[in-house]
């Protein structure tokens, strides 16, 4: 890392001994970024913002929340009614979870389309899938805390997934519960873990960013940066672009928080948990619906659980399933079609996950599940062998300013920035 010379002597003195300022300058200021990134590349920083927002509001909610079966529901209602601005903070946290998933899912589909998981970014991708898994665990346990009907029965159903494991399944479930049903011990450990896991996410996010900065961002063309003329410094170009994206995101988010705070939730969760009665129609939060659909599509307990976890596991090995040397879907005419089919398939799975498991919905769930795995396990490996990709541009600059001849001129024009 290049040491910087700062104008402020105090900063310089500190930086000489503790090079945090050089580090920040290097990674957030001059950090060379492909100059052709679209708004789809905003989602990473947005996800980071969502994580910070969730931790900030979560810590505040923990100040007022009581993790006890007799008090949890009432303490949440107290937050809504009595705590100053408690309704606002809880609605931000509640809807923030949904928006965090919206951002992360778009981020993932962006990566899928532009081949951001391919060499040399395999570990970057795998760390991202780990973040997704941690997010899912965190979101699930957070949903249990208000101790409403959906909390309780969601916890019951999801923890029972582990009972599908042969031989030791039942003991594992009892261990998870700390008893013979979801009860007070379950609630308090879920609270402790729900508080812990966001910080684990922060840790993996840091690794994710370190891995990202090793080779820099992928870009819509999916080709490597060929030199200085293909990049612009992160600040002010992408800081301002990210900030604009953040403003758009916050506008939509604020509309949800202030005008439709319960749109994505279930009214049943405003009924206190009752271990003696399951609600007639129990569904998980929307961000779990595709996986829930896969779980129910398989007519076998263990099989359903395996396929559901398999739907995530397949993402871990994605870099080795898609061996096509071309990253961006822009230059892969057949892949592009299958990408959108997969996207539609995931939306369909989400829709089916919200429907009762009967009649045509079961048939469709099975077809959609089959397609999901068909895409990853067959379509991608075969496409990487047979697909004729379109010719790649010579460089990132080439398609913008028309050919390599102009690249020199671009470099000259950027001199004042350097």
């Amino acid at each position: 890392m290049q040491m910087q010379n700062f104008k402020n002597p105090v900063v310089n003195w500190i930086d000489h001994r503790l090079p945090v300022f050089s580090f920040m300058h290097h990674e957030l200021n001059e950090y060379p970024t492909p100059k052709n990134l679209s708004y789809l590349w905003n989602l990473g920083s947005l996800a980071g913002f969502a994580l910070v927002m969730m931790i900030a509001t979560g810590i505040i909610l923990a100040m007022h929340y009581t993790p006890h079966v007799d008090h949890a529901f009432a303490s949440v209602e107290r937050i809504m009614r009595d705590v100053n601005h408690g309704w606002l903070i809880r609605y931000i946290h509640m809807n923030g979870a949904s928006f965090f998933f919206i951002v992360v899912y778009i981020h993932i589909f962006r990566g899928l389309y532009y081949g951001s998981y391919k060499a040399p970014r395999e570990l970057l991708w795998i760390l991202g899938v780990m973040i997704l898994l941690l997010m899912m665990a965190t979101a699930f346990m957070g949903y249990v805390l208000p101790w409403g009907q959906m909390s309780f029965w969601g916890a019951t159903v999801i923890t029972n997934l582990f009972s599908a494991i042969p031989f030791i399944g039942e003991s594992i479930v009892v261990w998870l519960w700390g008893g013979f049903s979801v009860d007070n011990p379950t609630l308090s450990r879920f609270f402790a873990l729900h508080y812990l896991m966001p910080f684990m996410i922060v840790g993996v996010v840091l690794l994710h960013i370190i891995a990202l900065h090793r080779f820099g961002s992928n870009n819509p063309l999916g080709i490597d940066v060929s030199g200085k003329q293909d990049t612009i410094p992160f600040h002010p170009y992408y800081t301002s672009k990210d900030l604009f994206g953040l403003v758009v995101f916050l506008t939509i988010f604020a509309s949800a928080v202030f005008f439709y705070p319960n749109f994505l939730g279930h009214p049943d969760n405003y009924i206190p948990a009752n271990p003696l009665q399951t609600p007639a129609h129990i569904v998980p939060e929307w961000y779990f619906l595709p996986f829930y659909a896969i779980l129910r599509a398989i007519p076998d307990k263990l099989g359903g659980v395996l396929f559901m976890f398999g739907a995530i596991a397949v993402l871990f090995v994605l870099p080795w399933l898609d061996k096509s040397p071309v990253r961006s879907g822009r230059f892969r005419p057949i892949f592009k079609v299958f990408f959108w089919l997969l996207f539609a398939d995931c939306i369909l799975l989400g829709y089916l996950g919200a429907k009762p498991a009967e009649g045509i919905y079961v048939v469709l769930s099975r077809l959609a599940t089959a397609w999901y795995f068909f895409h990853f396990l067959l379509v991608l490996p075969v496409l990487s062998l047979i697909e004729r990709t379109r010719p790649l541009p010579q460089s990132i600059s080439a398609p913008i300013i028309g050919g390599m001849a102009m690249a020199g001129a671009a470099a000259k024009r950027e001199k004042p920035d350097a």
Binding site: M63, R78, H85
Partner: protein, 176 residues
């Protein structure tokens, strides 16, 4: 646009206006996140209590809990009232006439929180140390209070506080 035609004044205005709006926005976001730690509505709803004082005989004191902390109510003897009223103002660290600290001379209502660092002084129960001035004595750091709850000796800077209270009837007071 060349450098010569750039209107610096307009540009500065835009920068200052943007930063101001950002500051306003940030303040609007931060305010609820900080204000949430202030007492909640249900806490404020319990901020006043009513106490029946008919049963307190002369020389007796009771302690009641108000806003989570003790309030001392002492039915003072004629002797105690006399000493409190006779105190020389020059001897007091926080000069205050006894008459300003009571609504009825026989009934002293004070907060049982030492003004030094918040301990509860002794002197309420029979047999407890009452300090050199026969009022209260704080065991934490040795502050002595007189029969009007005024600081006489030790590190505490001010007299024991008098909570807002009113007589609802001869036998009931409302604190808070």
């Amino acid at each position: 646009m060349s450098e010569a035609t750039t209107d610096k004044g307009r540009r500065d205005f835009i920068v200052v206006a943007t930063n101001t709006m950002m500051a306003v926005g940030a303040a609007a976001v931060v305010y609820p996140l900080i204000d949430q730690m202030n007492p909640a509505a249900d806490t404020l709803a319990l901020a006043s209590i009513e106490v029946n004082i008919a049963g307190i005989t002369e020389g007796q004191a009771i302690t009641v809990k108000w806003r989570g902390k003790p309030v001392f109510i002492r039915h003072r003897t004629a002797d105690e009232i006399q000493t409190a009223a006779a105190a020389n103002m020059d001897d007091l660290r926080d000069p205050q006439v006894d008459g300003d600290r009571v609504q009825k001379p026989e009934l002293l209502v004070i907060e049982g929180i030492c003004t030094h660092l918040g301990c509860v002084p002794l002197g309420q129960k029979i047999g407890e140390v009452k300090g050199d001035y026969n009022g209260w004595f704080c065991p934490c750091h040795g502050s002595h209070y007189d029969t009007s709850g005024r600081i006489r000796k030790g590190p505490a800077p001010t007299n024991l506080g008098v909570p807002p209270y009113e007589f609802i009837s001869d036998s009931v007071i409302k604190i808070g």
